[in-house]
Amino acid sequence: MKLLSLGKDAFQYMEKGFGAIFGTQGNPFHYLGALTIFFFWVVLVSGIYVFILFETSIFGAFDSVEYMTHEQWYLGGVMRSLHRYASDGAIITLLIHLMGELLRGRFSGVRWYSWLSGILLIWMVFPLGITGYWLVWDQLAQYIAVTSSELLDWLPIFIEPMVRNFISEESISDRFFTLMAFIHVLGLPLFLVFAIWFHVLRISRPIVNPPRALAIGTMAMLLILSFIKPAVSQGPTDLSKVTGEVGLDWFYLMVYPLIGDWSMGAVWALLFIPTVFFCLLPFIWPVKKPAAAVISLDNCNGCTRCFEDCPYAAVVMQPRTDGLKFKEEAIVDPTLCTGCGICVGACPTSTPYRQRSELIPGIDLPDLPLSKLREDLLKETEKLKGEDRVVVFGCEHGPELNRLKSEGVGIIKLPCIAMLPPSFIDYVIGRHHAEGVFLTGCSKESCFHRFGVTWMEERLAGERDPYLRKRVPIERIAKCWGEKTPKKELDKAIQDFRETLHSLEPIKTGVRKALHSHGKETKHGD
């Protein structure tokens, strides 16, 4: 556990470092999955061109690859290099993506589906790369053909050892080679496209494309690398000899040297045991699953905001069933709901001003009902003293909050910052429960619940329903995003904010300023 925590810290500091250089909008750490898919597109496009020049025959394959590499180096050669380097790049981003999701704990609960499909995706990516090297039919291909066959022969699949196809010139079958080409060119890529689709199926608004600047930068890097170090073959095959020195692509063939040194059973164990472990991880990892959101049909007008904002596609709309004159009603799929509360923050009925009836919004969290949130808020603010009282609303995945608590600072913790309906901010300031509201949470692009910070920012800016009302003096709201915000930085941000509040003209009872200008905003940790 401690190791995981250390790993998570290291990962987040790296993420922060990259953010400082690329900016939060273009931080590659926030687009690892999208970058992997981008590499896949480069592989696909370059692969189509390479295939046009490729001769799908064991007797012509090597020469056709040599032709494109040397005779048509300016296009065929570049395409071949792009094909190789994009494939390698995909392995790097894929593995970092996997590691990041593991360290952040984004594999359990409703995320099991994306996690499991992601692990299985890896088992398609590696054979895709390996069969690609096979097709070049050079010394490396010979090594791969023999070694892969020996590995597969250990499994009780084939009666005839597969390796016999590659031990002498007479034993090679052109048909087998065509089968390999089919698997590499059509079979696996097709499966991969479907697998990527499955992978993102259960999340809303999946990010499948990196930002333009990052895509251009990555493409330029691949192109420059292709010109500086073009991909070349390693001499024609000679089956009368065993391969000697081979330049391995370590991204795809890292296990291959073990095949010669370890027993085949041990190699398969090395491949299968971690796979099975990672596949089972979401089901064996102890995780406290919060209760799913519930709909109060009497209070739901079918406005679709919860449906729009749910990051996990756990809310769906269906025709009205209670006879009320609304077109639709929301329903929650409890198997997909993480209990993040973003839907509660999006609901127009989530307003703390409601006094005459019980505070029950159209959608609510059983573990933290909105009425309790208001109750906690009132209890917390009741104790605050001073002329610069601040309520900190913080996401539980953001910076540690308890230590911020003081005579003038109250703390309210939420599963996600976007659970907070903007009307609560209005309520705190307008009703003089505090002089200012301070919001904290994860960094925008690596938000634990994907869009929490984005939705909150847009609500505050009046770009997303439910808006923060314009009457709320925006300078009385401060924000600090970033789970790795240093303590000192956060303390200073709150201190500065309180000093600003001191300098502001007090809000008179019953008079609210309608301010449209941007107020003070502190941004840290991004």
């Binding site: 990259f18 400082a20 250089i21 690329f22 900016g23 190789r84 380097y85 390698d88 790049g89 790097i92 090594y143 020996e150 022969d153 009666i159 005839e160 050892p161 390796v163 016999r164 031990i167 002498s168 930068g217 990555t218 330029a220 890097m221 691949l222 420059i224 690398l225 500086i228 170090k229 991909a231 089956l239 009368s240 000899k241 065993v242 391969t243 000697g244 020195e245 081979v246 330049g247 391995l248 692509d249 370590w250 991204f251 291959y256 040297p257 010669g260």
Partner: protein, 168 residues
């Protein structure tokens, strides 16, 4: 302005680092599969061992118990004997093994495939195989002096039709 310049330089540096990692590990470090001093002998064959039991005639009683449409006179067991293989190099045993017949009823071929890393040079090679019920000795044998070239892929096969080992 300076900060922007530093950021751009930082981005270029990180792209270069990524390219360096990809470019290097796509072919380096070189892996030595076999050294020039080594060669491979691969012993590989499919061979059916002799039948484990002889055919016998069913007794009249046994035939009477069979369904009328499935009556037959001879009982011929399908099970094959295991194949014993031995390989000696310079009069030292480098391999001895028993290869079981394939198939659920053990009535298929004994399939064998194994490679041996050998120092290249001149060697005296003996390969033997037993597919019968005999308890000692072998039914087939081939013995020869061979010159293994550097990294040679030397194949030993058993030609079923000719009942003999072939060296290539």
């Amino acid at each position: 302005m300076v900060i922007k310049g530093i950021k751009i330089l930082g981005q270029l540096g990180l792209y270069a680092l990524f390219a360096l990692v990809v470019g290097y590990f796509s072919t380096e470090p070189v892996y030595v599969n076999t050294t020039p001093e080594e060669a491979v002998i691969r012993l590989t064959f499919n061979h059916v061992g002799q039948l484990r039991g002889k055919c016998r005639k069913f007794t009249a009683e046994e035939i009477a118990k069979m369904a009328p449409n499935m009556r037959q006179t001879m009982d011929c067991p399908r099970e094959r004997l295991s194949v014993h293989v031995e390989m000696l190099l310079d009069n030292k045993q480098v391999y001895y093994g028993v290869v079981e017949p394939s198939g659920l009823w053990k009535d298929g071929e004994s399939v064998f495939n194994q490679k041996f890393m050998i120092t290249s040079g001149r060697h005296h090679l003996i390969v033997r195989m037993r597919d019968s019920k005999r308890e000692e000795g072998f039914d087939y044998e081939k013995s020869e002096w061979i010159d293994l070239r550097s990294r040679q892929n030397f194949i030993i096969n058993f030609i079923r039709e000719k009942h003999m080992f072939v060296f290539k």
